[in-house]
Every structure is written in C-alpha cells, then in structure tokens.
C-alpha cells in the first residue's frame, strides 16, 4: 500500500525530470536566438510590454530581409514578471538552457543589477534600452539609453539658462535611478551656484497617487521670490496622478515648469494633456522628431502593433541597439560574444532623429538631447535639440566618480581610476 504511494510520487518526479531533459535537448544551431527579457506582467509590464513588441517587430523585419549570417533570427520571450530575482533566474535560463546569443531587456536599474552577476559570470550580452543613472560599466552590457549627461544635465542646463529657474524641486520615485540622478543634479546645481536651501527633494513610493500635499509644497517654494522649477524622476503610472493634481492646481508651465525624465508618449496616452501643455520632458527621441527614417519607423510600428500605439525613447534605443548588433555580428561573422563586443565599438547607425549614433568604447551611445513641450494631443513639441552627446558612464560631477573612466577597448576596464592609473575592478558594481 505504501509502495503504491511511493510509486505515484516517483512517477510525478519522473515526469518533471523528463520535462527538464526535453528542454535541454533542443539547443540546436539552426537559428540565431535572441532573448527578450522584459516583464510582461506585474508593475513594470506597463512599460516593458511595448519593448517586447518592438523587439518582435525588429526581428521580424530582419528575418524579412533574409535574416543574419544566412540564418533566421528566433525570438525567445520570457516573462520575469517585474520580480527582480526572477530576472537573474530567467537570464541564466536564456543563456544556458535556451542558448541565446544576445539578450535585449530590463527596464529598472534593480532588474539590471540583478542580471549583471549572471551575465558577467556566463559572459553574455545584454542591450539595456532605458535611460539610467550611470555609475556603472559592465563588459557584458551595452547601454543604449541615456546616461545622466545625456538627459538630466542638459535638461537642468535648459532650466537654468533658458527658463531662468532659481529654485529646484527634485521629485522622484524612491529607487536608485531618481536617487542617483538627484544626487548628481544636487552637486551639479551647487556647482552652478544654487544654494542648498533652494533644492527641495522629495521621494514617493511606486504607484503613489495622493499628490495634493506635495504639489502644494512645491507651490509654497515660490514664497521667497525665486522662480521654481520641478525636475521629475517620477516613474511609471504615478505620473498620472501627479499630472492630474498639477493640472487641477492650475499650475501653468510658465509659472512652475516641470521637466520629466521618465514621461514619454506612452505615459501621456493614459491621460488628458490639455491642462499640461507646456510642461517638458527630456529624451533622446520624441515621436514628433522630424526625420524621414522616423516617419518610416512610426509607420511600421503602427502597422505592426496597432494604429493607436505611440513610439518612445526606449524603443528607439532598442532600434539602434538591435541594428548595431546585427551589423556587428555581420562584421564579426559570428555571434560569439567577445567577437561581437569588439566589433560593436565604433559601430555607427543613423538614429531616428536625423543624426547618427556611435557606440563608444565605454558601451554607451552618442545621442542628441531633445527637450519637448507637452502638446494637447499627447505628443511633444521639440523646443531644443543638441548635437549628439557622448554618453559618460561615470559622472564628472561627483568627486569620487570624476576620477573614474570606462574604456573596454583600450584599457579593457570599466572602472579605471585615472588618478592611481589602476583598474578598480573588472566586474561591475552590483
């Protein structure tokens, strides 16, 4: 009697084991596999699902062009479910079980930091498409989003010079990107002669919805007669409540301008922007960018994903990153990570705003900085556009980072101390 029970359990165990075996078996080399590591459920799905769709579209287009190295590309989509440890687990699975040649993925910095040890251990390749706080350079990651000097610093300059802002409210969601960005900005503003008392910093949890008090606090900042500006690193759907409260309080962009680093076309599609006209966002790409290649991209995207869909900055980052990877693989003639990595340096590809992106030896891109004013239709009116700015892994505005440099081509080091002339560490900081 007990024996039968055992038998049943053993049967179940055998079932599971066969499952594993069949999984490991089909790692064959007819296709080039591209891992897509974006959350499709949980809190980050709101942003990341779009990027998964973008990757599927890019891969489909590449296959229509005849694939790569004579092989077809195959997308392997997994769902890390906005659960950070799961990112590490899925990344390992993609690399060792599915044997993908490259991964495109992650959105939040935590998820990237979760994946870092795994890809560095297994020598994988990840393209990370989102603007981030910098202070990191991994041999195995190409950062196709903006570093702080490609988004936050130029936007702050715009506030200082063009709008004459003298007092800053740095509002952010409480996680690493806003924290580090604000730390850099605080130092930058102090260097620019803004007193510490004129910098107001506030952090709110993810998905915060009760903004009346904070908006009132910002208004009250104007009491000493200085022009107030808000630099917002508020993430995701919390923005909707924030902007609704801002609109309700009747704060005009001419009184207190708000520049956001995490609000793009996608986020604005969730609200009515008539009362937000004139507030700003800083990105490296806007859907409204006037370039033929952009018009083409938007057309293809709408045909692929639906007429009501919009394009945004991280999508452009994936667009550049994917095409550069394709070109690098063709240049290297193989998908081997180290060969592709070497071929990536100096790769040039036209971006969607009319200039050209170049991959630097510090794994960052050159990107133009665009500042746009929100319009009634939820799009941005570009009011400022710079020449492409080279991305800087280690910021120049914090003393401990200013001495660091990343150069994987000449120095073969992502964290090189220019004072002591030594490589601090080869693995990245996680």
């Amino acid at each position: 009697m007990k024996f039968t029970t055992k038998l049943r359990i053993a049967g179940a165990a055998a079932f599971i084991t066969t499952g594993i075996l069949t999984q490991t078996a089909y790692a064959q080399e007819e296709t080039i596999k591209v891992g897509v590591l974006h959350s499709l459920s949980g809190t980050m799905a709101i942003s990341e699902t779009t990027l998964k769709d973008t990757m599927l579209m890019l891969i489909e287009q590449q296959n229509a062009k005849g694939g790569l190295l004579g092989k077809q590309l195959e997308a392997v989509v997994v769902d890390p479910a906005s659960d950070w440890p799961l990112f590490a687990e899925k990344a390992r699975e993609l690399m060792t079980v599915q044997n993908v040649d490259v991964m495109f993925g992650c959105w939040t910095s935590v998820s990237r930091k979760s994946v870092l040890p795994v890809i560095e251990e297994l020598n994988g390749l990840l393209f990370y498409p989102v603007q981030y706080e910098g202070e990191e350079s991994s041999k195995n990651v190409f950062y196709t989003g903006a570093a702080p000097n490609q988004q936050a610093i130029p936007a702050t300059d715009y506030f200082l010079e063009e709008l004459g802002v003298e007092k800053f409210a740095l509002l952010g969601t409480d996680y690493v990107y806003p924290r580090t960005t604000n730390k850099i900005l605080e130092q930058y503003l102090k260097d620019k002669g803004i007193a510490e008392a004129d910098i107001f910093v506030n952090y709110t949890p993810f998905g915060h919805s009760d903004w009346s008090k904070i908006v009132a606090d910002v208004v009250a900042l104007g009491a000493d007669g200085k022009k107030v500006g808000v630099i917002s690193t508020i993430n995701g759907d919390a923005n909707i409540g924030f902007y609704k409260e801002l609109a309700a309080a009747g704060i005009s962009a001419d009184d207190i301008p708000v520049v956001a680093f995490s609000v793009g076309e996608e986020e604005l599609s969730g609200l009515d922007t008539t009362n937000l006209v004139g507030h700003l966002a800083a990105w490296n790409y806007f859907q409204s960018a006037d370039a033929p290649v952009n018009a083409e991209f938007i057309k293809e995207w709408k045909a692929f994903a639906g007429e009501e869909r919009v394009t945004n900055d991280p999508m452009e980052a994936h667009y550049i990153g994917f095409n550069m990877w394709v070109n690098a693989v063709e240049a290297a003639g193989t998908t081997d990570v180290d060969a592709v990595r070497t071929a990536m340096y100096g790769q040039k590809f036209p971006n969607l705003t009319g200039s050209e992106a170049e991959m630097l030896p510090n794994h960052h891109l050159t990107k133009p900085v665009l500042i746009g004013e929100i319009q009634e239709d939820g799009q941005f009116d570009i009011v400022s556009q710079t020449e492409p700015v080279p991305g800087d892994a280690w910021t120049d505005f914090l003393p401990e980072s200013a001495v660091l440099e990343s150069d994987w081509k000449e120095l073969a080091c992502g964290m090189y101390n220019t004072e002591t002339k030594t490589c601090v560490q080869l693995n990245s900081n996680y």
Partner: protein, 649 residues
C-alpha cells in the same frame, strides 16, 4: 521684385541712420534674424528692446503672434510671415508689417518658430506696456500675469500709469495689489515702500512673501570686530549658529587663517616622501592605521618638509577671535525691520491656513479611503467574509468608466452614465461571486480569503489581457477641472470635493438603507443573529447575496471616483486593498460609523505625519502602519466595536 525692395531697405538701413531703420518691421527683423530663429532668454532682451523702441505699429501684433507660436519663416529667404489656412493644403502668407496677403506657400517650405517658454516669458514682459491699458480685458489680464511672473523696475511706472484709467474693478484691484508688490521691490521712496510692505500684513499670498523675502536675503561674513555701518541681521555664535568647521573655513577663505591640510594631501605628502621604503623613519608597511600615518606626517612636519597641521586649539582660538555675522543685502534697516515684522505676521496667518489645508487634504484622503473601504466593511460586517477581490471590483468600476467614455464622448454625460453603470456591473459581478463561490464557503472565512484572492489575481490578469498593461485615461468633465482656491495656501481640487460629496452621499444612502428600509432591517437582523433571523422568516441567503452585491457595487463607484483623480490600470485596486482592510479593522467591523472613523483617522494621520516629514512619503506610510499595529493592541476590535456575529467570538 522683393529682392529689390529688400536691397533698397538694406541700403537704407546702411546709409540712413536713426529713423529709416523703423520704416519696415521686416527689415528690422532681418537684422535680428539669427536671434529670432534661435531665441534664448538671455540674448533676446536687446532685440526686443529695439523692436519696442522702433515704435512700429506692427510690433505688438508680431510679438503676440510670435509668443503664440504663430510666426512662420520661409526657408528659401528667411523672411517671417503669419499664415492662414488656404485651399489644397497650402497656406496663405501674411506680411508681418502690413498684414497684407503675400502669396500661397507650401507648409513644407516653411518653418514654424517655436520660442521656448523662457523666451515667451520675456516677450510677454515686453508686451506689457502695450497691453496694460488695452481695451480688451483679456489682454490686460495677460499683461498682469506676465508682470506677476517676471516684473522689472521699468514696469512700475507703466503700471502706476495704468491704474487710474482701469474700469474693471477686479482688474483694478489686481493692478493695485501688483503696484504695491512692485513698490516693495523697485520703489524709490522709503516711506512708500514701508507702507507697501506693511499693507501686506496677514496676507497669505505667495507673491507677497516672494516680494518680501528677497529684502531679507542675508549673507554670512566674518569680521575682526563687531561690524558697524552695516545692516546686521544677527551675530552668529560658532558652535550653535554656525559649525566651527565651516566658520574656520570662512576664515581661511578670507585669508585670515592657515588652511587645514586635507586628508588627501596628507596622504600624498607621505607618498611623496617615501625614501627607501621609509617615511620619516617609519617603514611604509607599518603605516596601516591613521594614527601611524599622523605620526609620520608630524615627523615630516617637524623637518619642515611638509606644511604643519593646524591643531584644533589653533582653529578654536582663530574662530573665537573673530565675529561672524549675517548681513542683509538691503542696506536700509527701516525696510528690513518692516519686512521682518510683516513676514512674522504673515507666517502666523500662513500657519493657520496651512493647518486648514492639511485638514482639507486629510478629509479628502479620508473620503477616498472611506469610499474604497465601505463596501468591504458591509460584506465583512454582515457576512464575516473577507473579500480579497474587493480591489478588483474597484478596478472593474474604473474600467467601466473608461469604456463608457469610449462610447459617450461628452465627459459630463459619460460620468453620469458611468456611475450607475459601474455600480450595476460591479453589483452583478459581486452577486455572481457570491452565488458561485462564497456561499459555499459560508462558515470558512479564512478560506474565502484565499478563494477571493484567486479571483483577484485572475481578474487582474483578465483586465490586463483585455485592456492591455497601459494606463487608460478616465477624464473628468471640465467643470471638475481646477481647484477651489481660498488663497495661495488653501486650495483643493474640485475632483476631490466631488469625491468627498460622493462619499457623504453614500454614507447617507447606506445609513438610510440600513436604518429605514425593510432590507436594512433584515440585514441588521442577519448581522446580529442569522439563525434567529432565519426563523423569523428572513432568507439569509438572499440577504447575503444582496449585501455582497451592494458592497461590490459601491466599490465599482469608488473605482470611477479613484480613476478620475489617479490612474486606471489593472493594478488600481490592489493599491487600495490593504489600505481598505486597515480602515475597516481600525474602525471596527460591521459598522458604517466605524469605517468612517477608521477612514478619518487613517487619512488625517497620514497627512499629519507627511506634514512633519515632507520629503519622505514612504516614511509617513510606514509610521502610519506601525501606529495602526500599536493602536490595535489597545482596541483589538477597532474604534467602534460591535457585538453579535460580526464580533467574532
């Protein structure tokens, strides 16, 4: 033809000084083309001055259009035009000077000038003098707004001149107030300025404080003796008013003391003095503590090969021998005293209003919590059932609102339709849940919790599959836009007022249903003793079903309300569920007044904690929950405890 004219003008500008320049706006613009194409707040000032000084009649119109982003530039020759829509996708060019039509053009050959908001502000400032006495009150208001944003000394006399002729009393009052504000900043007569300052006593306006505070701007300076002839705000005592370290640093900066050798320099000095693996007689390998390094450094300093350290004693005495003082930038003590006293007066008023504002915020948050939790309180109270899917009924309500707006574009009508519809949809969903699942788990409350949790994650994912992961817009009608503003400190958005009214209405409705109707009687009977109620001919099954539907329906309405002021996503409800539970538990289960008390307490408490810790909302939430945990220790059954079946034991 045009070229010739241009050439003639160019010749005129070159040869004829003064007046000839003013002949045509186009020519004037041509000279500043580069600045106008790519304007910047910092460089546009002189251009605008010249434009205004030219006194050309077309300048104000041009500036207005420019500010409104309605000026276009022809790519071929860089000339500026206004445009009007014409047929065949072409546009009609309008000359900026004469206002005459200047031929059709293709939009692709034109660039729209888009001055950024900094430039627009400067343009608005330049327009003030034209608009302040304009017959159109709209324009006068525009000018006043521009003035309020960015006043300059030159505006004061213009403004004074424009007060007498003002016919609209409201605008006149605003002009007068602005005149007083400008007098504070730019007035030349001391008595006038003091009078203006004192006139703002008790005025909570941000603009008043914004005018007064700059008068009180101070800088910290160091002196050898107590300064005289300066407008001293206060003397600083090192140690209490100013950090001794920074005080000493000030002395160093002023050249009155030796600089402290920074740690990095000290380390570098040691490295520079390594000889044969020794620093001043100490082997390098022994310099493994800061103390050892300090000893080595002192030994080096004794040789005179490195600058000696500044001892703490030396620092102390240097600091003690000097006077540190805050000095007003404004030299006139009469003005600063008046400003200080008026500000002190204002801050009392502001404090009072801040309290009022905080109370309003708390009330608003409480009403949102109340709406979100009341449905839960009813089902929990009557049936002893924990509905983890309650948050998803809120979500269903919000999505119903969104769907209704897709079909009814008029926001007012759509909200009127959405509220009952959200109630109905959520009511039906609630009844379905009760019929299909909950009644089978009637005596297992903890298992209901798990089953409804399952429903909750399934519903969330289904919503995601249907509506996508993106947030969906739920827009309030325009009459709910904006805020009720008492003054610059106290204001509350209409949408929050509406939610408050909605919460009150439901409080009233529920009280009515429970206390005045047959259904209410039966519900109360079932709540207190289901068996007895059953034997009195009440069908508890039916009551449970209706109660559950009612609770869910209210959640649906709460969803519409929450969606209006926050976001509509599939996770909308889960953000409120824990909060709602706590509201119910703190308030006391099964009692509407209890939920009201719970919501009131949690809402106001959260705001009070936020008030004390404004830069960290997370901390406020953490402390609030800790408070709740402790509170429940003392009142385990909530603020208003109930007896009967709902009371548990």
């Amino acid at each position: 033809m045009l070229r010739i004219i241009l050439f003639v003008f160019a010749a005129l500008t070159a040869f004829a000084p003064a007046k000839a320049q003013d002949a045509d706006l186009n020519a004037l613009l041509e000279t500043y083309r580069a600045n106008i194409e790519k304007p910047s707040r910092t460089t546009i000032g002189p251009v605008l001055e010249d434009l205004v000084d030219s006194q050309l009649p077309a300048v104000p119109v041009f500036l207005e259009k420019w500010r409104e982003k309605e000026v276009w530039q022809r790519e071929s020759d860089g000339r500026f035009f206004f445009v009007e829509d014409a047929t065949d996708g072409k546009v009609m060019l309008i000359d900026v000077d004469s206002g005459a039509e200047a031929g059709l053009a293709d939009k692709n050959d034109l660039d729209n000038l888009k001055p950024n908001s900094g430039v627009r502000g400067v343009i608005a400032g330049a327009l003030v003098q034209f608009q302040l006495s304009d017959p159109d009150p709209e324009r006068r208001l525009q000018a006043l707004t521009a003035l309020e944003r960015d006043p300059e000394a030159s505006h004061l006399s213009i403004l004074r001149g424009a007060i007498e002729s003002e016919s609209d009393p409201a605008i006149k009052a605003r002009k007068e107030r602005l005149q007083r504000l400008l007098t504070i900043q730019f007035g030349s007569d001391q008595a006038n300025r003091v009078a203006a300052i004192e006139s703002f006593a008790g005025d909570p306006g941000v603009d008043a404080r914004a005018a007064l505070n700059p008068l009180l701007a101070t800088r910290v300076e160091v002196f050898d003796a107590v300064p005289e002839g300066l407008n001293v705000a206060r003397l600083l005592t090192p140690g209490s008013d100013i950090e001794p370290q920074s005080a000493y640093q000030m002395l160093v900066d002023a050249g009155k003391a030796r600089p402290v050798v920074p740690m990095a320099d000290r380390k570098q000095a040691l490295i520079d003095n390594i000889e044969n693996g020794m620093v001043a007689g100490t082997p390098v390998a022994e310099l493994v503590t800061q103390a050892a390094r300090d000893r080595a450094y002192l030994a080096l300093a004794a040789d005179g090969s490195v600058p000696p350290l500044v001892t703490p004693d030396e620092q102390r005495s240097a600091v003690a021998n000097h006077v540190f003082a805050e000095i007003y930038a404004e030299k006139d003590p009469v003005l600063t005293t008046a400003a200080r006293e008026t500000l002190a007066n204002i801050s009392g008023t502001v404090g009072l209003y801040q309290f009022v504002d905080l109370a309003l915020d708390g009330l608003s948050l409480a009403s949102i919590y109340f709406l979100a939790a009341i449905g839960l309180a009813i089902t929990f109270g009557v049936m002893g059932v924990i509905n983890m899917a309650h948050g998803e009924f809120i979500m269903i309500g919000a999505y119903t609102g969104y769907v209704v707006q897709q079909f009814i574009p008029n926001y007012t009508v759509s909200i009127i339709v959405a509220l009952p519809l959200a109630f109905t949809v959520a009511f039906l969903a609630g009844v379905a849940l009760e019929r299909l699942v909950i009644r089978y788990l009637a005596h297992r409350p903890l298992e209901t919790l798990l089953a409804t949790f399952g429903i909750s994650i399934a519903l969330q994912q289904i919503a995601k599959n249907i509506f996508g992961t993106q947030a969906r817009p739920l827009t309030s009608p325009s009459w709910l836009d904006g805020a009720w503003v008492l003054n610059d400190v106290v204001s509350i958005s209409y949408i929050r007022i509406a939610i408050f009214v909605l919460a009150l209405a439901f409080l009233g409705l529920l009280l009515f249903i429970l206390n005045r109707t047959r259904l209410g009687l039966e519900v109360r009977a079932v709540t207190q003793n289901p068996r007895m109620a059953s034997s009195m001919g009440i069908n508890p099954d039916r009551i449970n079903m209706l109660t559950f539907g009612l609770g869910s329906g209210i959640a649906g309405i709460a969803g519409v309300a929450i969606g209006l002021f926050a976001k509509v996503t599939s996770e909308l409800g889960s953000g409120y569920i824990v909060q709602s539970f706590m509201t119910v538990v703190v308030g006391g289960v099964g009692n509407i007044w209890g939920t009201l008390a719970g919501a009131g307490m949690i809402g106001s408490l959260q705001k009070v904690i936020e008030f004390f810790n404004p830069s960290n909302t997370l901390a406020a939430q953490t402390y609030m929950i800790i408070f709740i945990i402790i509170f429940i220790q003392f009142r385990p059954k909530g603020i208003i405890a109930l007896k009967g079946r709902a009371a548990g034991d």
